[in-house]
């Protein structure tokens, strides 16, 4: 099962196994990783699952949909490597992925 490493804003790391097909958001929520709210449950409707993808992984993740792109536009503390974690599907290729959570989701 792919391993995903979540790094909290304060630097605390959580490495967890996430089943293929799940989203990076689900991997965090189901493993009690703090810092990702995901109020809408992954419907790309709330923009409260914002993460920063580790720069060495940004090219390996499929691109953003128009909807994700525009939802992100309004997230706080946006960076070029910002993503909505509910829109990143976990695959075998993403084994070892590192994402960081922002200071706040609101």
């Amino acid at each position: 099962m792919p391993k995903i490493k979540y790094v909290e804003h304060n630097g605390k790391e959580h490495e967890v196994d996430v089943p293929e097909g799940w989203s990076v958001m689900e991997g965090a929520v189901k493993n009690l990783v703090p810092g990702i709210d995901a109020d809408c449950g992954g419907a790309c409707a709330c923009a409260t699952c914002h993460v920063y993808v580790d720069p060495q992984w940004t090219d390996k993740i499929p691109g953003k949909s128009d909807m994700e792109e525009t939802m992100l536009d309004f997230a706080q503390d946006l960076e070029p490597n910002s993503r909505l974690s509910c829109q990143i599907k976990v695959t075998a290729e993403l084994d070892g992925l590192v994402v960081r959570t922002p200071k706040s989701q609101h």
């Binding site: 449950g41 419907a43 409707a45 909807m67 309004f74």
Partner: protein, 397 residues
């Protein structure tokens, strides 16, 4: 103690513990499951693209870590406010210092002859969808009663799945309670193009069949059907509160702090009737309200009451369209349309006294997000600018 194991109940557990509550915590739920998300039930879960395991809001470890005792498959049958105890269906009685009612809603049964024939489904719980899914076979004829969110989301999944889909709606447009006529008209076109037979102004009179559903009688005609899905709204689960003498009027009446008339009892989520942002009492059926009101209920239970006045937001997924809405429209609002429905990307704003009161956006996240912000801030807006798609939403004010 929390009665109700849904979105609001789960949020309350999180908020009570993160807010510093160190006492004992118990949750009572009448379904066999830990709190789960209901929105995907009529979408990805019905479609089979989301497994049951993924519906759960929090893993079991969350409740264990929060030292919250989960009493599932049990319902609360009575509240004794003097003794501060709750009687449970398994014969037990539990005492509380503070009680949160997060009892949600149940489906409104359809009051017509034949309504109990096998083959007629409702959609509210995992169990409901498991039953419906078993009957969801390509080629079968499904009659959907009610052209609201549930009916139309199921229609979209059914059409994609190869079922022969008919929708019966008593009113003259779909989603009439939730969206503007422009939006209703757009979705009517989308469903019709997908092969769904939409019967507007057509109330269902009875279900027909010998031993199981064979046809739906509507508008004086008989439509053959192998299965039916009834989605005609919900009823708040407020009987427990009413029997305990709490104020109930279209839901459990709470104030801006999510407190009932009893200082030890609070309520949150779909089951509450609460003061809306404009003063009048409203009852919302949405994830946003369940989450936010539960947060405020937790604050009040911890002795730190704050005023709940968040902008409500909603969404609906049908086919490849994401409908996102915020605020509450009212008859008499000025309607401003932005973008062209034919492009399958547009928004409808409702203006009241020069300010945005509500927004409905199809595949148009900026319109939705900026609209939601404008509603919250009560900013005055020029309708002509709002309608002008050459001005980006970011620069609209």
């Amino acid at each position: 103690m929390i009665i109700g194991a849904g979105q609001a109940g789960a949020q309350a557990v999180a908020s009570l513990r993160s807010g510093g509550f160190t006492g004992t915590l118990t949750m009572v739920g009448d379904e066999p499951y830990l709190p789960y998300q209901r929105p995907p039930l009529s979408k990805a879960y019905l479609q089979g693209t989301l497994e049951r395991e993924r519906l759960f809001l929090k893993p079991e470890a969350f409740y264990a870590d929060a030292a919250c005792e989960m009493l599932l498959n049990v319902s609360a049958t009575a509240i004794d406010r003097t003794a501060r105890t709750v009687a449970l269906s398994d014969g037990r009685s539990l005492s509380y210092d503070k009680l949160l009612l997060a009892t949600g809603t149940r489906v409104r049964p359809i009051p017509v002859p034949g309504a109990d024939l096998p083959g007629i489904h409702y959609l509210r719980s995992i169990a409901d969808v498991d039953l419906l899914r078993a009957a969801f076979q390509p080629g079968r004829r499904i009659a959907i009663v009610g052209g609201g969110y549930i009916g139309l989301e199921v229609a979209a999944v059914a059409a994609k799945h190869g079922l022969d889909v008919s929708v019966f709606e008593a009113l003259d447009r779909v989603m009439a309670r939730a969206v503007s006529p422009v939006m209703s008209d757009f979705y009517r076109g989308v469903h019709t193009a997908a092969g769904v037979k939409l019967h507007l102004r057509t109330g269902v009179e009875r279900f027909e069949g010998a031993g199981r559903l064979e046809a739906v009688r509507a508008g004086g005609e008989s439509y053959p059907a192998d299965l039916a899905l009834v989605g005609i709204g919900v009823i708040p689960n407020a009987e427990l509160a009413a029997a305990a003498g709490l104020a109930v009027e279209n839901g459990i009446v709470v104030d801006r702090h999510a407190a009932t008339s009893d200082p030890s009892i609070f309520a949150a989520g779909d089951c509450t009737s609460h003061p809306g942002r404009e003063g009048r009492n409203i009852r919302l059926e949405c994830v946003q309200n369940a989450i936010d009101q539960a947060k405020f209920a937790a604050l009040a239970m911890l002795g730190k009451p704050a005023v709940y006045s968040e902008v409500p937001w909603f969404w609906s997924d049908q086919y490849d369209l994401k409908l996102q809405m915020a605020g509450l429209a009212r008859p008499g609002d000025t309607i401003v349309q932005r973008g062209d429905p034919a492009a399958r990307k547009f928004a409808v704003f409702h203006l009241r006294e020069g300010k945005v009161a509500a927004v409905e956006a199809v595949n148009a996240a900026p319109e939705y997000l900026v609209g939601r912000k404008l509603i919250g801030e009560g900013t005055r807006i020029d309708p002509a600018r709002l309608a002008d798609t050459t001005i980006a939403m970011k620069n609209i004010v």
